[in-house]
Symmetry: C2
Subunit: 141 residues, 2 copies
């Protein structure tokens, strides 16, 4: 198995998403749909561009996932003064899904981190953040 940090990261996130998708299937959600719902819970109503910036995912991807969540009746549009934008918020059903999913995600994540020292978590978080910054600087060049 390749020992590189980056390789390990990629492998980890693949497995992580796969596992979380399994867990979330009990609520009928996929991992990425959960992220959108999480976003909306935090800031309602929210536009697609705001979600796109927050999650750092391109607009067409957000657009597609939003459409699916709308079809599932989890989110709905809210009238806006700016006719270009599509402001969305969670429906009653969406709020319920949020609560259920939140519990699942929290349980899953805390389970994973158990037995890893706060010190190590902190170092890892800091390292990844500085790698992200580094990537962002690359962006500019």
């Amino acid at each position: 198995m390749r020992e590189t940090l980056f390789h390990q990261q990629l492998q980890f996130t693949r497995s992580f998403k796969k596992k979380l998708n399994e867990k979330l299937s009990t609520v009928g959600l996929f991992h990425s749909q959960w992220l959108l719902i999480y976003c909306m819970k935090k800031q309602q109503p929210v536009t697609l561009v705001e979600i796109s910036n927050y999650l750092d995912v391109e607009k067409p991807t957000i657009s597609r996932t939003v459409k699916r969540l709308e079809e599932q009746g989890l989110i709905e549009e809210v009238p806006s003064l700016d006719k270009r934008e599509k402001r969305m918020h969670l429906t009653r059903k969406g709020e319920e899904s949020y609560e259920e999913a939140q519990r699942i995600v929290t349980h899953f994540e805390t389970g994973l981190m158990k037995e890893i020292s706060d010190q190590d978590i902190e170092t890892t978080l800091r390292t990844i953040q500085s790698l992200r910054e580094k990537l962002y600087e690359e962006e500019i060049n």
Copy 2:
């Protein structure tokens, strides 16, 4: 921005893959295709199942990417005793692509890690590996 370790991980790998895809486009490769070529360089000839196990990616995904690399003339089949399996190895052109891509990837990765202490890299690597193990144990339950 959400502060969770896992959220940061996902964001990082997304940006990382995006950026690496850009860099690799000069060689006409995508990040995932590079991983397959890397795999083959390390062990030739190799079967799809071996690649699947090594990269921890499901067979249909490997199957599809292999088909594309074959079409590009970077890899080719090698006769095997077991008629079920498809043993592949790099063509001359594939070897050349490997060399070019290897340079690009190494340059990109070392650039990112520069300025991060060996200590932090080491802790991060160890932490991610134990998170992966944890995920794997979950698999069993």
